[in-house]
Symmetry: C2
């Protein structure tokens, strides 16, 4: 595969990612993606054999992005508590997208987990990456493993809930308010 094909492939993946997030996986057609990328439907199949192949590539791409940002936070933010604050800040920074389309990870997982016929329940791996990383931060803060895992799940729960309600009510101020509450909770531990 040459670099041009590589580029187009990457463009297909990032475009599909965006469209799956904004319209849902099921609701997004090859035509939608091809049009957005600027290639013909036929050309499409040179890069991916099936729609499921694209989805798999999208999920792998998202997982890689998540790993990258978590590594970046590990390397640039010295204190574990500050890293967790950064995690919470993410939903505030991203609020404009969240009020429109919800969480880019949570909503995709919710949809895919209902389509039991396809084997993309590994979409949950994306959440798992965050879960394990957050757990690690709580361990660094002195909690035992079980407690840290529970705190991690609780934090995930709150951010997902904020995304669902933030989208449903299209309310950015609410996201900001709940994020602040969450940071207070973090400080109180």
């Amino acid at each position: 595969m040459n670099s041009k094909a590589e580029t187009i492939r990457n463009k297909i993946v990032s475009t599909a990612d965006e469209l799956f997030y904004r319209q849902g996986f099921n609701h997004t057609s090859f035509t939608d993606i091809a049009k957005a990328v600027g290639i013909s439907r036929g050309n499409f199949y040179y890069h991916f054999k099936t729609k499921d192949d694209i989805l798999a590539a999208v999920i792998e791409n998202k997982k890689a992005s998540i790993k990258q940002i978590l590594t970046e936070w590990d390397e640039t933010i010295p204190q574990a508590k500050d890293r967790l604050t950064q995690y919470i800040n993410m939903i505030v920074d991203y609020q404009d997208h969240i009020v429109k389309y919800g969480c880019p990870i949570g909503t995709v997982c919710t949809e895919l987990n209902k389509l039991k016929n396809i084997n993309y329940n590994n979409a949950t791996d994306m959440i798992m990456l965050f879960k394990d990383w957050i757990t690690q931060q709580f361990i660094l803060l002195g909690h035992d493993k079980e407690k840290a895992e529970h705190l991690s799940m609780h934090l995930l729960t709150c951010t997902q809930g904020i995304s669902v309600i933030g989208q449903a009510f299209n309310d950015a101020a609410f996201i900001k308010r709940e994020a602040d509450t969450l940071k207070q909770w973090l400080e109180s531990l």
Copy 2:
């Protein structure tokens, strides 16, 4: 419309409700619903003109069910705090469904809010019914209106988050644990 047609219509609505919840609205076809109800696709159109008509009926039906259960709680549970506990208990009672398909209200709203082309953002009305009712309970507990509304949104946030993570990780024990935490929070107010 005679009583038999009424019965079939109700059966279509309840079946569509179930399938929209379990498979998603977009992923559910007329064929799916007709098969589950036990009628032909053609007969289907005697009762509903379009798929959107069915969705509208499903949402109205869900709203009516929500109003009914909230009224029942108002009438049978004397204390506001106990009524809120009952609300939290609902996700525990319903955990077997939640781990498979998520929240029957939240997941449907999440999906429909992404389909901007159709005008079913009123799906959020279903959440609004809970929001207003919960707000009222907090007012009865002595909070001012703004504070009560914030507490209501917070409680909604937690139950939605629990549903998202509970489904993603297929973890009923987690739902029970977080529900208990939520009840403790309620007592601490």
